[in-house]
């Protein structure tokens, strides 16, 4: 997030797209509802009638995968009606003419054709947005899990800059991170192109710095493989060994049949986890890890706040903390490490990572964490980014053209399947499905289908249905509801009994590598 969770309550307007906030980020959802009850406006752009729709002043239900067109359409109206922030555009940005040229092609009528949103609603949304003093854009996977994910994100940033809604409290472009340490994993360089704090692996000076810090030579200066390419290289046979710590790609990745083929083709698969997950069951070696309650360490939340978590109990049996296991393997492979505790590792992180330099153990123990960037011990941390200037100086508008879903419905596969989560479960279910109360509330996968479609296909709530795509077939229970629009079905990926990622399309965004979970073509029928 460019801004902070605490600022949510002071915003004048929320533009919420591709996040089912009350289910996935309940504590942010409830802050947003408080603000709306106090008088803030809420524009929801989401194909589904999620819980927030009840609180929305305007709910735009776009056709799936048409976000760029919708955002361009809104910007076009704001420019045409001269409602944009001239000061901000002139002083802090570049590329306005290019933006104007692209978005001018998205008149309300054109956008209605593409997205199904009525011109009148689009115009109202644009005016409402432009009228707000402090508008906060919030999004999650509904924006990023598309082949055009990067374009969707850029378009959100364009809208914020055009209206001067960045670099001030209660504004900004705010992606909500789905897992408790996604932000931290990225910050720590668990990415193929960067070391910690987004320092690039291709930069020779950065490479030198890390060679010095780590006392070695010959660091790789080329970008590595993303998870998606790891799977395809494994299937081709050029990737021989994969070491997975705490993830379950068999359940979380698209097109599971191919993932299984890829993983089985490896010479060596090492999985380190707290449970024998679907992925761990395929491993050659399984290493038992400690859970969050059995170790200390820091986690970085979606607002960039680095917080400390302490050890409460010992791990079960012989399980050990992930860092201890990794340290042992490094030693056995001829690279001794001498960390006595996570605190020693944080110390090294402080030294090699400019944005984390001031986030020391002593400080976060005293306060409730610190938000990066925090470049030195005296720095108070950063509640919101881009205050007086952008990292690069001026903010560049990056206009994008609308592109359709990678797999559009046809006669054979005539529905769009979109996926997500439910309130009571989390991710691949390895943890939440072992919590009795949560499991009682949401014990099995359900596919949502619109009443009109259901009637035509003779499907009733609780019927077993068969859902198929070009990649596979699953069976699950139907729920007939107008939460989903016509010709769209929705389901979740928490359940091994109905693994929805057998169906999803691995086609992915060329820059971010994120697969298009939010739309693939399927067919649905009642089980005989």
């Amino acid at each position: 997030m460019t801004n902070s969770i605490n600022e949510v309550e002071d915003a004048d307007l929320f533009f919420v797209t591709g996040t089912n906030t009350t289910a996935q980020h309940p504590l942010i959802g409830s802050r947003m509802i408080n603000a709306v009850e106090r008088g803030a406006k809420l524009i929801l752009v989401d194909p589904r009638e999620i819980q927030l729709a009840k609180f929305a002043h305007l709910h735009l239900r776009q056709n799936i995968g048409t976000d760029v067109a919708v955002l361009n359409g809104i910007m076009n109206i704001i420019i045409e009606e001269d409602l944009y922030d001239r000061d901000f555009v002139e002083n802090r940005t570049e590329g306005f003419q290019e933006l104007k040229a692209v978005v001018s092609r998205y008149s309300p009528n054109v956008v209605e054709q593409i997205s199904g949103i009525r011109s009148k609603d689009l115009i109202e949304a644009a005016r409402m947005f432009a009228a707000a003093d402090k508008a906060m854009i919030l999004y999650a996977m509904g924006i990023t899990q598309h082949v055009t994910g990067t374009d969707n994100v850029k378009s959100c940033a364009n809208l914020a800059m055009l209206t001067g809604n960045i670099g001030r409290p209660s504004t900004g472009v705010n992606p909500l991170r789905g897992q408790n340490n996604v932000q931290g994993a990225c910050d720590m360089g668990a990415l193929p192109v960067v070391y910690t704090g987004y320092q690039k692996v291709v930069d020779a000076a950065i490479k030198d710095k890390f060679e010095d810090a780590w006392g070695i030579e010959g660091l790789d200066d080329k970008p590595g493989l993303t998870i998606t390419s790891m799977m395809s290289e494994a299937q081709k046979g050029s990737l021989k060994a994969l070491y997975i710590m705490g993830e379950n790609p068999m359940m979380s990745d698209p097109d599971s049949t191919h993932i299984e083929l890829a993983l089985s083709n490896l010479d060596l698969l090492i999985v380190q986890d707290i449970f024998l997950s679907e992925t761990a069951s395929l491993a050659d070696i399984v290493l038992p890890a400690a859970s969050f309650a059995e170790k200390s360490g820091t986690y970085t939340n979606t607002e960039r706040r680095v917080q400390l978590s302490h050890k409460a109990v010992d791990p079960p049996g012989q399980a050990r903390a992930d860092w201890e296991i990794v340290q042992d393997i490094c030693r056995l492979c001829g690279y001794p490490m001498n960390y006595k505790s996570p605190a020693d590792i944080l110390d090294e992180i402080n030294r090699v990572t400019p944005s984390y330099a001031g986030i020391t153990l002593e400080r976060i123990e005293k306060e409730f964490g610190l938000q990066w960037p925090c470049p030195n011990q005296e720095h108070p941390g950063t509640a919101y980014l881009h205050k007086d200037q952008f990292t690069k100086g001026l903010g560049t508008f990056l206009p994008c053209e609308f592109k359709p879903l990678a797999e559009v419905p046809d006669q054979e596969y005539d529905f769009i399947l979109t996926t997500g989560r439910v309130y009571f479960q989390y991710h691949t279910g390895t943890m939440t499905r072992r919590i009795s109360l949560l499991e009682r509330e949401a014990p099995e996968a359900v596919v949502e289908i619109n009443p009109e479609d259901a009637k035509r296909l003779g499907i009733k709530t609780n019927d077993r249905v068969e859902l198929s795509s070009r990649r596979g077939t699953i069976r699950l229970k139907a729920e007939v509801t107008d939460r989903v629009p016509k010709k769209v079905v929705f389901s979740t990926f928490h359940y091994i009994e109905s693994p929805v990622n057998l169906l999803t399309n691995p086609a992915h965004d060329p820059v971010a590598g994120i697969p298009e979970y939010k739309g693939c073509a399927v067919r649905i029928r009642r089980c005989a």
Partner: protein, 133 residues
């Protein structure tokens, strides 16, 4: 009864709570009243997050595949195989034949040491995590 300050293991809000434990068992959680993130509140997932910690399904020993079956093993054996095989594959096929998947569910320190292993020990940038998924 002991109270230990911890961070919820689920979504990216990062709510802060106290794990309440007796002997070596976590028996509940209490939200942190002053934390700026959750100000004394939690969602249902947070309130129940401690339950999986003591699940009977937890892995408690290393497992090694023998004759096609995952078999109970020791740390010495498992880590011996892991390090020998990784070194062997690197020597035979080069660093690009190895890849490392880190996790959006473990700590910063663990992500750091994991990518350091990939880069410093095995000389590859083939390191990623499942955040996008």
């Amino acid at each position: 009864m002991k109270k230990t300050s911890a961070i919820c293991p689920f979504c990216g809000c990062g709510c802060n709570f106290y794990l309440v434990s007796e002997d070596d068992r976590v028996t509940g959680v209490e939200p942190s009243p002053n934390n700026p993130v959750n100000k004394g509140m939690l969602c249902t997932k947070g309130w129940n997050s401690y339950e999986f910690i003591h699940s009977p399904d937890r892995l408690t020993t290393p497992l090694v595949r023998k004759n096609g079956k995952l078999t109970v093993s020791t740390w010495d054996e498992a880590l011996g195989i892991v390090s020998a095989r990784l070194k062997e594959i690197m020597a035979q096929h080069g660093p690009s034949a190895l890849a490392f998947l880190s996790s959006a569910k473990v700590s910063n320190e663990e992500n750091y040491i994991f990518q350091k292993m990939a880069r410093a020990v095995f000389k590859t940038n083939n390191v990623d995590h499942c955040a996008r998924l």
